[in-house]
């Protein structure tokens, strides 16, 4: 009796949809990524025990080690200029959209940061002070 030879079927991994999957993942990351606005702004955040997780906001005011004021990464010459710019930005905003993240270097003196806090409040913003959790000793 003659035995029939089994036909070998070539084994291939289907990779046709791999590119589609990869691009879907890329789109996911592109949509979810939140690019840092304060890249290049040097500041050491203050630390406190009484901090909690806060929601991110589209508005961020920062003060670097040299006391330069930034609104979403754009430098301002003073608190007055910041106030008028913030006022225009916050004009149509309500509720949590008025939250303004305030990031300031730990060594900045009150005489420098106080006018900035005032400017945010006068412009109609709600200050969310950003810092780090201080480890319990």
């Amino acid at each position: 009796m003659k035995r029939r030879k089994k036909q070998r079927t070539p084994i291939t991994v289907p990779t046709a949809s791999m590119g589609d999957i990869a691009f879907l993942l890329t789109i996911f990351f592109m949509v979810c990524s939140n690019f840092a606005k304060e890249n290049g702004i040097l500041f050491t955040p203050p630390k406190a025990m009484d901090v909690a997780t806060v929601a991110d906001s589209s508005l961020s005011v920062a003060m670097d080690v040299d006391g330069v004021i930034y609104l979403n990464g754009q430098a301002f010459s003073g608190a007055d200029e910041l106030e008028s710019s913030l006022e225009a930005t916050l004009k149509d905003k309500t509720g949590d959209d008025r939250n303004v993240l305030f990031k300031c270097d730990e060594m900045i003196e009150k005489r420098a940061f106080s006018p900035v806090l005032d400017a945010i409040v006068k412009a109609g913003g709600v200050v969310i002070a950003i810092g780090e959790k201080k480890p319990v000793k």
Binding site: F29, N34, A48, M49, V51, M107, V126
Partner: protein, 139 residues
């Protein structure tokens, strides 16, 4: 001439072999650059800074936290940060109305943000509204 040569149709194909490689490289880029960082901080309740408001609030018995150099005082009595937290928690500010929740914060111009931030965080955590005392010009 009986040229019956048929034109050979060339099959056109877009090379997609390296497409997935490019896409995966992009994914790796996004994975590396995305920062899954949770912001830590606190929401402050700062009055609008109107002088009249500050003056009416000051007439009542409003707790005042002062920062002088490295020292913290609550109503002119020296206190540590832990004691301040306990004392302010004891006031049960969360149950009170907005005007009664005001804690005045008085600090020298030379106080750095680190010290100020700690005290502000402490006041905010117990439900206090921070009233910033500022020196008037010319005084």
């Amino acid at each position: 001439m009986g040229l019956d040569r048929r034109k050979k149709k060339r099959e056109t194909e877009v090379p997609t072999d390296s497409l997935s490689d490019v896409a995966f490289l992009l994914i790796i880029f996004f994975i590396l650059t995305t920062s899954i960082q949770r912001l830590a901080g606190f929401k402050t309740e700062l009055p609008s800074g109107e002088k009249t408001q500050a003056k009416t609030q000051q007439t009542e018995k409003t707790p005042t936290v002062a920062l002088n150099g490295g020292a913290i005082t609550l109503d002119d009595k020296g206190i540590t940060m832990d004691e301040l937290r306990e004392r302010l928690a004891g006031l049960k500010l969360e149950t009170k109305s907005n005007n009664e929740r005001v804690i005045l914060l008085d600090a020298e111009g030379s106080i750095n943000y680190q010290q100020y931030f700690e005290v502000m965080a402490c006041i905010s955590s117990v439900g206090g509204v921070i009233g910033i005392l500022t020196e008037e010009e010319g005084k």
